[in-house]
Point group: C2
Chain length 408, copies 2
């Protein structure tokens, strides 16, 4: 018997059949004696439908748009409650303002400032509390939304507020995998992963869980589990590194491949203070997201500066830099939009030397040239030619023995 | 410069084009210096769409259904605000709970208990306040709905609470007519009508305005105006009878025809206390709505008892009565489902004798047989054969000189 927060995403409440499946799962957990709060997203497609309505009046963000979008989760909560009631489960629908989930007033990307747990805790005693994800209320009682994927954050924040034993994020995948199973067919589902690894994996494109939610869970020490609505697999538990100390620590836990990137190289850049800002400032001003940044400084006071941007922004970035030729002196600008970024992630690499060299050897053995390298404490990323992306993932997955050991 | 509450129904906010039309109207009224609160219904069809979703889980009413339905108006408010903002009008979206509009906890048919005007009044100073109709919040902070058509009531209640100079109900008709223009082509739009007349007309089927809203307006002395979203006609003003004293009072203000009725006749009913309850109790238990009731008692202690029910419930009603033969002694049950109810309404009939006899003469001149008569202070209703319904309306409309005097 535990106190659990369950979160179901848009696909899990995307149809009457799916909602009944969720209701059934909730009912079973309740009957096992658990104390439950359930957080739901809008039905898949609903938020886009609402945004399309708003766009007819050129409204993209603001108080009215949040007022609009908040209805999406409200509908899901109502329908899940109806389904639960049809199965004889007592339940209590709650909108963000009813909890209340206090936020700041940044409409469309509000941050949760406080959750008063009393209403939820009291109602959990005699039934299942079903709460709208993704939304809250600011100090002036305006409805706010947390931005895309904010329902994960709502769930974790609620779990922290009520001191839940576990926060379970139900999705349409079985958990977190060592790599994309579409690339490596025997990719293994991880039973346990640390917050830090999850953060690196989430940021790299393993989109099972919103990165803000993982940060929140780490900061408030909420035990987080990612699992599938559509089967009984226990999923992946996300824990603090210390908690995992006793376990045999895998060297690396996952490999990710980020496509749709492009690389920009500036050579012969004068090595003077502020040059990086001169280059990246005008790029950031255009809201172009810069990912990897690498700079080498030669002994002659001339630097090479390389960074990556989304492929879609490649042409614009090159144009911006060409317009900067005055500031950049005689820099030579070149670029490549046929690249991918490949990363291996694992807290194990902190204590085991040689992971980087093993990675580079594996790639070399396949004659894959590395065009850029960047490392963090628990991650090594390389940029390679696009055409080698999936081959490289497969080779590394095998080399680091990440594959499933269960015979299929 | 006045303080106005404007209410727009589902058709008026049923599409982006309609919403822009509404926004334009609101903007003009604001620019004329009026202080405005706007109440909106759900987009036409939206409430039914939501109910269909709930019905997939056999949910028809209760806390969760109100939680669901309330999203309909929330969407309308958000879209109207977006449209107003696109025209440069400052506006403030408000849900029922934000006002707050306090109600009891009868989900699906909640009654408004109190409206705190401060939030609305304060926000009206610097912009247009746009409020969800049809909904409120109970003492436990649950979302409630007022039932179908409740948005009219919301508007009137808000007008009463903030002491508005006028409450304007915008619909898709020009106002209240002397009779259905589809029956009488030169039916006249009434410029002024009393609350009492409106109540009788609304109850009889002139469905421009919810009856609860009219009662509310009368009780709180709110000046009410019914007008069209889609033209500039000033519509029909609904006022207190005393206010109209100085006007030349028309004898009657309207004629209504209620189809889909059936008549049940019991003859030879024993005239004893409780017999009416014995007859109607079992009918009411089946939720069959009884409209007219007429009883004649003969000198021999034997009564005739006649009443009307919706045509759809005719067969069931006859069956119920047949099962009551024990209590009803030797009563003879007969019925007729080919009838209509025709009513003339007017406060003028209080002071003018002879309206009833004029009505009966007009019908007699057309050889129309009257099967049942029932009167109230300002209304006379008759039941006649279905096939004569529209003919009777036309003859009476002419006889009482209700037609439009404006040449077309």
């Amino acid at each position: 018997m535990a106190s659990l927060v369950l979160k179901f995403g848009g696909t899990s409440v995307g149809s009457a059949e799916a909602i009944l499946l969720v209701a059934d799962k909730v009912k079973k957990l309740k009957e096992e004696g658990n104390s439950l709060a359930v957080v739901v997203s809008a039905m898949s497609g609903e938020t886009n439908r609402l945004l399309d309505l708003a766009n007819k009046f050129k409204a993209e963000k603001g108080k009215a748009v949040d007022f609009l979008l908040a209805t999406g989760e409200q509908v899901s909560v109502a329908l899940l409650c109806s389904a639960l009631e049809s199965l004889g489960v007592i339940c209590h629908p709650m909108a963000g303002w009813q909890v209340p989930i206090q936020t700041d007033n940044s409409f469309g990307k509000a941050k949760i400032t406080e959750i008063t747990p009393d209403n939820i805790v009291n109602l959990m005693d005699d039934g299942v509390v079903v709460i709208t994800g993704f939304q809250g209320v600011d100090q002036s009682n305006n409805i706010t939304t947390l931005g895309r994927g904010g329902s994960d954050t709502s769930a974790v924040a609620i779990a922290a507020a009520i001191g839940a034993d576990e926060c379970r994020i139900y999705t349409d995948v079985r958990g977190v995998f060592t790599t994309d199973p579409r690339i490596v067919s025997d990719a293994r589902k991880l039973d346990v992963i640390t917050y830090e690894e999850m953060l690196e994996l989430a940021g790299l494109g393993a989109k099972v869980l919103q990165i803000r939610a993982v940060e929140f869970a780490r900061n408030y020490n909420v035990k987080l589990r990612v699992l599938s609505t559509f089967n009984e697999d226990p999923g992946t538990l996300i824990i603090d590194e210390e908690e995992g100390m006793g376990m045999e620590q895998a060297l690396i836990s996952g490999i990710t491949l980020k496509k749709n990137e492009a690389q920009i190289m500036l050579s012969n850049v004068p090595d003077r203070p502020g040059i990086a800002a001169d280059i990246l400032g005008p790029v950031a001003e255009k809201n172009i997201e810069v990912d990897m940044i690498v700079q080498n400084i030669g002994s002659n006071g001339i630097a090479d500066f390389t960074f990556t941007v989304p492929k879609l922004d490649f042409d614009e970035t090159v144009m911006i830099l060409n317009n900067l030729s005055n500031q950049l002196g005689g820099s030579i600008i070149s670029g490549d939009d046929k690249i991918v970024k490949l990363s291996i992630v694992g807290v194990g690499m902190r204590s085991h030397a040689g992971i980087a060299s093993k990675m580079f050897s594996v790639l070399a053995a396949e004659n894959i040239n590395i065009k850029m390298i960047s490392t963090s404490e628990i991650k090594i990323s390389v940029v390679i030619e696009e055409k080698y992306g999936e081959l490289a993932v497969r080779c590394l997955h095998t080399a680091f023995e990440l594959q499933s050991t269960i015979s299929k």
